[in-house]
Amino acid sequence: MLHPRRHSPLLLLLPALLACDPKGIKLGDDSEAHVEPPVPTITVSGGALDPLLGTECALDVTAANGSTVALTISDEAGTVLRTLADGSAMVDATAWDGRDETGMLQPVGTYLVDAELLDPDGIVLASATADFYIVRVGVLSGTLGGERIPLIWHLGSGPGHYWEEAATDSTFEIAALDDGITATALPALWDDLDVPPASHVGEGMPAAYPYDAVPSLTLAVAGDFGGAPVHLTVEGWGEAQPVAPGDTPTFTRGAALATGPSVVEESVTFTWSVGDTAVGAQTLPMRLYATLGEPGFEQTDAPYEPWVAAIDPALRAISGVEATDEAVTSALTEWIYRDAGISYDTRYGASYYTSYSGRTYNNALFDFTSFLARRNGTTVNCTDCASILEAYADMLGANLSYTIILQNFDLNFIKAIGGTDFTHCPFGASGCSFSYHAVTTPDDTLTIYDATLALDGDDDPGAGPFTELLVQHIEGAEYLERLVMDGTATYNYTQKEMLR
């Protein structure tokens, strides 16, 4: 306990002195040099603490012309709860952990920091006070906004059940700020690309945007601030905003999401402050898919939206590519041709994942769900490759259609997907023709992309030597010239695929 102190006569005189003529009071003979005694001064910083986000809050003390400092914490009724400095030594800094002398954590509210500068006899030379706030701050949920593109998890409760993450769905939620002892951590990212979580509570969800979009984040502020003037800052997402429990402030990212298609993985820090005092910080991991734009499908409902299981690996594979349809589709073509781990059915040229559901080659239905699991194996044909390329490209915001080259034509030299050599007889010596061939086009066959095969790109595509030419934005007429050795080949059935 502090001893009762007598106040210095000088301190008692100080208000009168300050009220006096600022030029000074004549205390002696004008003719003699006079040195006034130094004025004792003390200041103390206020503070704020969220005991579940931080362990203590530093209190800065600036004192001059005294011997020792006493510093106490009192509640609003004036009851001293804690002595942080007992007046036995000079102190320039200390900290309060929000607990009284018995170690009991004090409730949310406003407290008084009382600092006194003492002389060697325990006489108070100067004093200062400041407010200290104990608060409980946090967010219960957050929702990304802006030009958000809905995402789909394609195995909601099994194949064919698409679980749509609507553009207005929360990005993360927690059930409660704390359990009374520890603060609830902001959720980790949901990592399963196929299956959605049963609930958003306790999960952090990815989101998708056009690469040049500027996302916003609306937070649901909660807690008990006890009247403290709390500000919330989202690092890199604009200025600090004053907040109160129940508020839903919106922060806007300081820059466009990305310069091109990519996966933006970053941790966003929420910093809570009272005045200049940082109360605590929370970190939210985020995964934002930056696509070219809205999906290229004609339909706009599920499943014709980006599948997480599709765009995640695709964007990682083509990251760094220029943000144009041509560049993205070309990169996807090469990725599928070289790295998808699939190979052409050189026995039958049969489709493993796509069926035509109308007459002839109309209404191709691509079983993307089965393909992602390689449920029917890793052998494919041209219909499959066209379906695969169209699905990935359309999901990333490019726009492809499939088209069918008919019919029964002999081949120049090609190198089929998964193959190692050029051949003009992909089915063996007696199989040197295609009954049909499926490719993709963004512009009604003016240009062609084909992940099924590479052409011989030199002046004579019908004979060696061979120069590998991936089919990336090749004019439709040139494509046929390089592909077809003999027979009539024309583009037909140009249309969008269906997806499941």
Partner: protein
Amino acid sequence: MILHLLITTALAAGLHAGIPVHQRDLGEPDFQSAENGWTAPLASGTGFVRVYVGRNDAEAVDWFQRTRDGFSRLIPDYVFADQAAGDGTGVLLFRDGNVAVMVRSESNEALSIGQSLQARIVDGPPSFSFASLKRTDDGWTVVAPGAAFVQTRGGTSIPCGNFPAGVLADTQVGPPAIEQCMWTTRPDEVTIWDGFGRATVIK
């Protein structure tokens, strides 16, 4: 199975009901669409089958031809069932009445697998009216007793069964979960599959 064979024998001249979708030597069936039928991997992991049950022979003929057209290489005719193509080793495409099947076998057993599936074809009249979309005071429910799977498209559904919260843009579940689900706005399309792989579409 014995019952199925007896029915097959007794009603050989009529329409086929289909092939039971759950088979010991097949993996889990995957229902594609009413026009495409269902698929299942071979349990051995060496291939897969596609099965289509038409409402009549003509629909199966159409499926057979479309599927055959999907081969980049012309596959020859094959003598099996009512209509067949392939080589009987890696691939066999056949039609038996209103049922059409494609077998892909990496172990060159397409013919024996096809024969086995043909033997499991169950006869019986088409039964495409066992399900309905029912209006209730609160919305819409699917009534599908005996359904193997139900697919829906469109509509606004509320969480049910093991479905997560959120928008159920498209669902495919087996009963009884589907009958616990409700749509606050009418689904655009409901496809109900029975245990023989027949699909009924309600629009």
